[in-house]
């Protein structure tokens, strides 16, 4: 197991370095200038600014400097916000995003599991069909459409919830529903399939035959065995959450990392784009690693296969 994790961490670091290099060279290819008042600047001022941010050096030198700084944890300074550290900006912005992401993940998973279990236990009933309809809708309807409809009906028309901004729990409800919809749908569907498969296994019949109460069969045998494979879809789900926060933060004007990322793209603030890209990528790689390790612990076949290659 130790060797497997070690190998995975090394390949993870290589992936990260490749992403960092790729991001750097893609940034160099970008058209446009990062200085928002370029028209008002004189030639000398532009040269001075370029000098200050090291933009006059040849690209390989810039690349070398960038990677060197990156390895010591320095992500550079923002072009737009007068020399503020990118890492400080990420630190400020991560709070609302992390809160929103975790809240959506936890709430979505609990509701999804609940719906999936009910649907499987009441197979082919009204509840089952209802859950499947919710699942198809949740997977199909784009999150920004859900967000927009909620903003209009719940926020503007009925005035039940604040329309936008970030100021306490009430402000998190609509964004959470918009982001969690896909989590609920995916998990409910997956859990239902798994439950139905487990319910058809011989050991369930054995458990029933030896006189176990149906509650005990459901809780101890069915749900436990059915929920193990859920871990496999956690990776893609967390990625979906990141996509979700990106646009949902934009719609609800939440001062999070996703909103900052989108705005830095629109204003050509290269260091912020690169910093947030690397941050998202690192998060993504770590999540995949954790999911793989957890799955390796649960299912020894994965560990063995992984160790060989």
């Amino acid at each position: 197991m130790g060797r497997y994790i070690g190998g995975r961490i090394i390949s993870m670091l290589i992936t990260f370095l490749i992403i960092a290099s790729l991001t750097f060279f893609l940034m160099k290819l970008l058209p446009g200038t990062p200085f928002n008042n370029q028209d008002k600047l004189t030639e000398t001022q532009i040269v001075q600014l370029n000098d200050k941010y090291g933009l006059n050096d040849p690209v390989p030198v810039q690349y070398f400097n960038y990677m060197k700084n990156l390895l010591s944890g320095d992500l550079g300074v923002s072009f737009q916000q007068d020399g503020r550290e990118v890492s400080t900006i990420i630190g400020e912005r991560i709070g609302p995003s992390a809160y929103l992401g975790l809240q959506s993940l936890v709430v979505g998973t609990i509701i999804g599991l609940f719906l999936g279990i009910i649907a499987a236990l009441k197979h082919n009933s009204f509840l089952d069909y209802g859950t499947m309809v919710i699942a198809v809708l949740g997977i199909s309807i784009p999150n920004f459409v859900i967000a927009g409809l909620m903003q209009y009906w719940l926020g503007v028309k009925w005035q039940l919830l604040p329309v936008a901004y970030w100021d306490g729990f009430a402000y998190t409800i609509m964004p959470t529903i918009a982001i969690a919809s896909i989590v609920v749908a995916t998990i409910a569907r997956f859990m239902r399939t798994e439950m139905l498969e487990v319910l058809g296994q011989d050991y369930i019949t054995t458990a029933k035959a030896k006189g176990l109460s149906s509650t005990a069969v459901v809780i101890r045998h069915t749900i436990r065995n059915a929920s193990i494979p859920i871990i496999t879809i956690m990776g893609p789900l967390v990625v979906g959450l990141m996509t979700g926060t990106l646009v949902i933060e934009q719609i609800f004007v939440i001062p999070g990392l996703g909103e900052k990322f989108v705005n830095s793209i629109l204003t050509n603030d290269f260091p912020i784009i690169m910093g947030t890209t690397l941050f998202f990528s690192l998060l993504f790689i770590i999540v995949i690693l954790i999911v793989d390790i957890m799955y390796g612990i649960i299912d020894p076949r994965i560990r063995l296969a992984g160790g060989k290659s």
């Binding site: 993870m12 992936t15 309807i141 784009p142 459409v145 927009g148 990625v239 996509t243 646009v247 990528s281």
Partner: protein
């Protein structure tokens, strides 16, 4: 009891004839056999969800083709005096609760207020007075085109990459799979956004950006299937008879993976539509006057509180497309799954 016995006695031997015994007819197949595709189609048509999805898709494609030409307005024709009119449909305007009578949320009939009593804009007009019906279907056309093109590129690259990787195996497979491992570590959304930034915004750069990582899923599925198939006896038999690699791949492997490929494509299309809408939505999509569903929704968002109709119709259509493709994809998955065969 006695009645029955009496009846039995009534049946005499001469009422019987010897059966013709012809061993050559024993194995005769009386009915046409049900092949894989026919069986899958039969099971698909029995799935109400899949059929609903199929009908919605066909209807939306027809509307996307003919919708923009169904009235006299073009998608870029501007007229500021008739900006932001609510939806108004002939006949249906007399039924109040449908909300297509040209009355805005404040209760005034905008068509009368602005002097367009004789005009009908079925989905209303946008902030420049452009006909929303024409724009929405034009946008649907572009969204569907982008999705279809992205799905096709994913299909072409994915099948080739996965097929080569699995078929040749060994070192080739090892190298190709290491590349995929790196690519999969990059959040695809971020990669898509970076590529969009480099290319000039437009339909083709969106298609390209979507294809950068889009093919990975397809290649993994094809690889898995080919790995499973290539060790089976019928492939060995074909090789023994002297078939070339090209023939084995084209005649034996691809047809057997085709079901999986179709299912994956069915899920690629809604995914591409979502990503395209998403990019347009955060302002990285098409430039006006061109429009896709995503950019129309994004535009409408600016005036959501006063003119909800600008967001409502394109949102309904994009949701319908996504639901339809997901339903059809689910139906196909069940139809192609031999385990679910009854």
């Amino acid at each position: 009891m006695s009645m029955k016995q009496e009846k039995l006695h009534d049946i005499s031997d001469d009422m019987f004839q010897p059966a013709k015994i012809d061993s050559s007819e024993n194995e005769l197949i009386a009915r046409e056999s049900t092949g894989f595709w026919k069986d899958a189609w039969r099971r698909l048509t029995k799935n109400p969800g899949a059929i609903t999805g199929l009908i919605i898709i066909v209807a939306i494609i027809i509307l996307a083709i003919f919708g923009p030409g169904m009235n006299e307005h073009s998608y870029s024709e501007q007229e500021l005096t008739r900006a932001k009119l609510p939806a108004r449909v002939p006949v249906l305007e007399n039924i109040d609760f449908l909300g297509v009578n040209g009355v805005d949320i404040r209760g005034t009939n905008q068509y009368e207020a602005k002097g367009y009593e004789d005009e009908y804009f079925w989905f209303g007009t946008d902030e420049f007075g452009r006909d929303q019906w024409t724009r929405v279907w034009q946008g649907t056309r572009i969204s569907l085109f982008i999705a279809a093109a992205a799905a096709f590129i994913d299909f072409a690259i994915g099948v080739a990459y996965g097929g080569i990787s699995a078929y040749y195996g060994g070192r080739v497979d090892n190298i190709l799979q290491r590349i995929i491992e790196v690519l999969i570590g990059i959040p695809n959304l971020i990669l898509i956004i970076l590529f969009i930034l480099i290319f000039e915004p437009g339909i083709f750069s969106i298609i390209l950006a979507l294809s950068v990582t889009g093919w990975i899923g397809m290649s993994r599925i094809v690889r898995g299937q080919v790995l499973k198939l290539k060790t089976q006896e019928f492939v060995l038999a074909s090789r023994t008879l002297g078939a070339t690699s090209g023939r084995v791949i084209g005649k034996h492997l691809i047809p057997n993976v085709l079901g999986q490929i179709i299912i994956t494509t069915m899920f690629t299309i809604p995914n591409a539509i979502f990503f395209e809408a998403f990019l347009s939505f955060i302002g990285l999509g098409l430039r006006p006057p061109e429009a896709s569903l995503g950019s129309i929704i994004n535009n409408g968002f600016k005036s959501l509180q006063i003119y909800p109709h600008l967001v409502l119709w394109p949102s309904i259509i994009i949701s319908l497309i996504m639901i339809a493709f997901n339903l059809l994809g689910d139906g196909l998955r069940d139809a192609f799954d031999p385990k679910l065969r009854k």
